[in-house]
């Protein structure tokens, strides 16, 4: 016999969980009490939203479901933005919330919030546990559901009296959910059709998305592209699934992507979508495209196929498995030399416009990536800074992590904390704007308390730059509510936490500052003062 709270920690240990991110309160106290005698490390964030973002960063770094915890009521509702962010990016996560006592449910007692109800649109599944004996089965299922098929957050809401109940603990070995059987292998007939289409194509292109990471298909994707000589563009979520400088890579597509990437899909005669959901930011005119080119859509979620764009050849299953199936069944094809030559020509026309001797964020990020470790993890926030990072930070063997689906400002520091906790030996950068940094500044406390040496880079333009640009282009330059006057001195803020920091505003300071940051053992905050008029593209 043990109490449910102990059983919860036991379940987590059995799932291989080493670290969790959270914030306590009365309704989750039994769990925190049990945590003391468990092997799990708890990282106390400064706001629950960042516990979810940290779990998101952790999950991306490990590829496995990560865990965040909060108390009932406001603790739980504070998580929602983080849960929604993870949901729209298909990140595996198990979210645990405390709840008021079972007999008080529905009476609007202190700190009661219907979190399973309010988070319903943003979770893959959720549980409100009323029967203590169901805890082991529910945890087992939650981890399975979160991590398999199309990954996503699963919420477990546990009333405080349930946490205190005594149960016999036995962890199930297997899961059997009759309503949940994700497909893994691609249908052989469809594989054959794909092979035929690839053989015939003169101007094929691969568009790879976040699903490539979710299925750990990076290396097989590169093998696939190389074997059939097919150029690759990525969505924002797919950045880094092929090294930036790979000769077959032609950048990110979409509204904020590279021109060559957009032209490439428009001129192609075969578009192979792999783990990409054809979001509106990535493909702005799916209706035109589906008429112009033949489309193969590989996705583990059948609901994504045909949702935003029709596909002649739908293929439901795990990207890694399916690419493997194709590679096995199809020999090398003709090279697409002319097509790739054309794309390279287009690519060579891209130029960065340099201004004065101030810091050009695009060049700065190129320089930073040239000096950073090959396998570093770089987390982009939201705004112009995100697009600069997406387009100019060269990914070699590392990861680019960002929120593509929701575009949640304030994501980067939390996610970087998570990634660094999961991979302490890797360099981890959070690159954010001065607006987004101020949505997460409090997490400097977490970094100090738990000794998580992430490097934070703030692109300071004293503006909500992305919105400023929008107002400039679409609202007659009527700039409103985009000035960040009143912002603190970030260097002083950092030093108040005892975090090393520096501010630079000239090109000739970049190199030294980057070196200093990279050589610093602890966390570091580097502020780059940039021209507020710097365009996104």
């Amino acid at each position: 016999m043990m109490n449910v709270a102990q059983a919860m920690t036991k379940c987590l240990e059995l799932e291989g969980v080493k670290d969790i991110f959270g914030y306590p309160g009365a309704a989750i106290c039994p769990f925190y009490d049990a945590l003391i005698s468990s092997t799990i490390r708890h990282i106390l964030v400064r706001h629950e939203q960042n516990a979810a973002h940290a779990a998101s960063g952790y999950a991306r770094a490990t590829g496995k479901p990560a865990v965040c915890v909060a108390t009932s009521g406001p603790g739980a509702t504070n998580l929602i933005t983080g849960i929604a962010t993870a949901y729209s990016d298909s990140i595996p996560m198990v979210v645990i919330t405390g709840q008021v006592s079972t007999e008080l449910l529905g009476r609007d007692v202190f700190q009661e919030a219907d979190i399973t109800g309010s988070a319903e649109p943003f979770v893959k599944h959720s549980y409100l546990v009323k029967n203590p004996r169901e805890i082991p089965r529910i945890f087992k299922e939650a981890f399975y559901i979160a991590g398999s098929g199309r990954p996503g957050p699963v919420l477990i809401d546990i009333p405080v009296d349930v946490q205190k109940a005594e149960i016999d603990f036995e962890y199930p070995k297997t899961v059997d959910i009759r309503g949940y059987k994700p497909s893994i292998k691609g249908h052989p007939l469809q594989i054959k059709r794909v092979a035929e289409a690839i053989k015939l194509a003169k101007k094929p292109i691969i568009c790879a998305g976040g699903g490539v990471f979710a299925t750990d298909a990076k290396s097989v994707l590169v093998e696939f592209a190389e074997k059939y000589d097919i150029p690759v563009v990525t969505t924002m979520m797919g950045i880094g699934c092929i090294p930036s400088k790979h000769p077959l890579h032609f950048g990110m597509l979409g509204t904020h992507g590279k021109k060559v990437a957009n032209l490439a899909i428009n001129e192609s005669d075969l578009l192979i979508l792999i783990g990409a959901r054809v979001g509106d930011r990535a493909v702005t005119t799916p209706g035109v495209l589906e008429k112009r080119t033949k489309i193969i859509h590989i996705d583990v979620d059948p609901a994504e196929i045909g949702k935003n764009m029709d596909a002649q050849i739908p293929l439901v299953g795990d990207a890694k498995v399916i690419l493997g199936q194709i590679i096995k069944s199809l020999d090398e094809t003709d090279k697409h030399t002319e097509w790739i030559f054309r794309l390279n020509e287009l690519k060579s026309q891209e130029k960065i416009v340099d201004g004065t001797d101030g810091i050009n964020p695009k060049r700065f990020l190129q320089l930073l990536s040239s000096k950073a470790d090959e396998n570093c993890i770089v987390v982009g926030d939201v705004g112009q800074n995100q697009i600069w990072t997406a387009n100019h930070f060269e990914i070699k063997k590392g990861r680019f992590v960002t929120t593509g689906g929701m575009g949640t400002m304030g994501y980067s520091v939390g996610a970087a904390i998570g990634a660094k906790t999961a991979k302490p030996k890797k360099q981890v950068f959070a690159i954010c704007g001065d607006g987004s940094f101020q949505m997460q500044m409090m997490e400097l406390g977490t970094i100090c308390q738990h000794d998580i040496p992430v490097k934070i880079i703030i692109m300071k333009n004293n503006r909500l730059g992305m919105v400023r640009e929008l107002q400039k282009n679409l609202y007659h330059n009527n700039l409103t509510a985009v000035f960040l006057d009143g912002s603190p001195n970030f260097v002083t803020i950092a030093s108040a936490y005892g975090i090393k920091s520096k501010s630079i505003n000239r090109l000739d300071q970049e190199e030294e500052a980057i070196n200093e940051m990279l050589q610093c053992d602890g966390p570091y905050l580097l502020e780059c003062v940039i021209n507020p008029d710097e365009p996104t593209l």
Binding site: I145, R178, D301, G306
Partner: protein
């Protein structure tokens, strides 16, 4: 176009709100929805009539299938489907109208289940279209109250929708 979808779901709390929430947030229009437990007490069967084109119905099916609580679903072809809806309708009926109303009830294969000096309450189990018809015919007498269950449906012939393969 109206489409009838039969869904087998886990019979536990919260499932219905998951399904209705899904319809609301994805702008799918529910014409009617009926739920009841099946011969297996752990499974409920929901019959939903949705209004929309083929694209919508495909999306409804796929999105419903993503819900962990949904065990199985099938969109029924109208020509191969038996569908029924139960209706209780209370009409004004003084002594001079009673004979007429009784005739209508007979023709429509309905039943009179309650009668007062001024009203009659009719029970009818029909297709939705027939019920609409009947209401149209009863209108002149004065309809006081209409209660309908929403459509339930099963396949014609020996085919069934079960949780097993």
């Amino acid at each position: 176009m109206k489409h009838t979808i039969s869904i087998l779901v886990e019979n536990h709390p919260g499932v219905l709100s998951r399904i209705s929430g899904l319809f609301a947030r994805r702008s799918f229009n529910i014409e009617s929805l009926a739920v009841g437990v099946t011969d297996d007490s752990t499974i409920s069967r929901i019959t939903i009539v949705v209004d929309g084109n083929d694209y919508t119905v495909e999306q409804v099916e796929k999105q419903l299938n993503k819900l962990i609580d949904v065990i199985k679903l099938k969109t029924l072809t109208p020509s191969e489907t038996i569908s029924r809806e139960l209706m209780l309708v209370k009409v004004s009926a003084n002594s001079s109208d009673r004979g007429d109303i009784i005739n209508i009830v007979k023709v429509m294969d309905a039943k009179i289940c309650d009668i007062t000096r001024t009203t009659m309450t009719i029970e009818a189990s029909q297709t939705t279209e027939n019920l609409d018809n009947m209401l149209e015919i009863l209108k002149p007498y004065g309809i006081r109250e209409v209660v309908r269950t929403g459509t339930i449906a099963a396949q014609k012939g020996s085919d069934t929708i079960t949780a097993k393969k």
